[in-house]
Symmetry: C2
Subunit: 341 residues, 2 copies
Amino acid sequence: MTALTFVEFSAPYLIFLGDSADPLDAKTGLGIAHWRRERCLAQLRLPGCAADAGLPDMTVSQAAEAGARTFIVGVAPIGGRIPTSWIALLQTALGAGLDLVAGLHVRLSSIPALVEAAAERGRRLVDVRVPPADLPVASGRKRTGRRLLTVGTDCAVGKKYTALAIEQEMRRRGWNADFRATGQTGIMIAGSGIPIDAVISDFIAGAAEQLSPDNSPDHWDVIEGQGALTHPGYAGVTLGLLHGSQPDAFVVCHELGRESVGGWPDFRLPDVAQLIAVTKTMGALTNPAIRCVGVAINSASAGAEARRHFREEMQDRLGLPCVDPVIDGTGALVDYLERTL
Amino acid sequence: MTALTFVEFSAPYLIFLGDSADPLDAKTGLGIAHWRRERCLAQLRLPGCAADAGLPDMTVSQAAEAGARTFIVGVAPIGGRIPTSWIALLQTALGAGLDLVAGLHVRLSSIPALVEAAAERGRRLVDVRVPPADLPVASGRKRTGRRLLTVGTDCAVGKKYTALAIEQEMRRRGWNADFRATGQTGIMIAGSGIPIDAVISDFIAGAAEQLSPDNSPDHWDVIEGQGALTHPGYAGVTLGLLHGSQPDAFVVCHELGRESVGGWPDFRLPDVAQLIAVTKTMGALTNPAIRCVGVAINSASAGAEARRHFREEMQDRLGLPCVDPVIDGTGALVDYLERTL
């Protein structure tokens, strides 16, 4: 892809789901199995684990024998620390010849026992929160190929899910498309990417340029958005990602019923039409042809009636398709994109 | 100011101007002597040095005896490296009880001989390019006191100079005002600050919030801007700084005659009116009362006639005062600010 020391790792995987009684703790592992089943060989669950990715259960040595190349920590340990009991398991995985991948606050490379075991067997410790060290400042040069970016009215409104679902829909239609990950969970799902919020601020747009390099004219990069242009904490990240991505098209993601920024109750969410306008204004700098191709909502807590009403409003007021990707899929978005190419 | 490990250092200074035949190499040292003469005790020049800050020449031991507390490397070594001959001098300064301050690409703390000498005498090595490690995400909470931010149509158009000149003009009028530095040269001039472009991208706005904390209602923070909202490489930094600064007022800085982004010839500079509009739109998120109070131009290369013409255009078209701070001072900007309070 590039000469950069990108986060990147090899399939097939043994997905470690831990021992938590709450399956949500294993959402990264479940996400990898959902979106990248073809890269998953097996799962490893400890006693008490409530999560099930629907993969064959294997021990480390069974998985290594069956050809697994990477052991992925697909669970967030309770309290954020790696339990001592896991260290032995991770050493075993390295000893069996697997690379280790994790997206924890505690870096794998900060644990001497793992560094030593990895060095002994020539295996890699991949911390997906750590960005490449050699990122350039953005050039602004227009790249070949096509790009779609998911943007949001807030954090945690479905930008990653929507991008993955659009990639899946494009591929289903035989399009040449790749999801590009910008956050830790996305990177673990995709097997590569750049944790954009961990990049030094001078290099945000430059990192985004590296993430979706020149490609064939009919190729689509479907880029996972971060933050929101109207977010009081993270808008700088969002703008750099927008500029470096140079998207031809964007989809606005929104959680139905949410009215203020999550964690910032004094900040009202922007109206979708407002967010479209500001995204076009700012995005036009690096791609004057930028356009909105639809709205993706998370309507889980709002219900069917609110969803129907909101969809009609988007259609009538903005002339844009609106879907809940979990319920409706993203076909209507890709249809609209195709019609307006 | 805050409990953070802010870059901050103590006066009076011995300013080291090096040995370069080009006085521009010593512009940081000259800038400190120009804007903060009251904090400067003396200068130290090696044979061949073409720069003169107009301070008494002293050796390290003379300056130490006279009460100097900090040795500032006010010159960029040719080629970016610290010449071996300087190391002995820096060791001498530490040995004489002075702290060392530099803004070089090579960190002082990466030179073992200096680390050792500093430890022996209990002195500090201050690398102004290194941001605090403990920055928070921005809260978005409105702070007390007033803030003015300089924004630009590009990098290197006079944002730092304009902010320093406005601080000076405010203080001349007896206002309670402080320049807030966001880049290495500004930090060396101010004696404190945060190198905003070196901050991890999640914390840009948070860093800007720390830089201008709550203050008395009549106090003005005059904040040094960075980059440009329309810069293809650095706009993310600019937006985070805008959001975290929550400016009540901003001044647009522009180099007369410059038509494209420096180093990005394919990107035309925005029109001043356009930049004002986008700054107000984006800045309103954290301060809905944001307004433009004037335009500061660098007209050195454009000449007097072009300057007169541009000033009239700004006045007639936008109703805003326009000055070249070097030629006209910033009185007209502060007048306008005061009239529109």
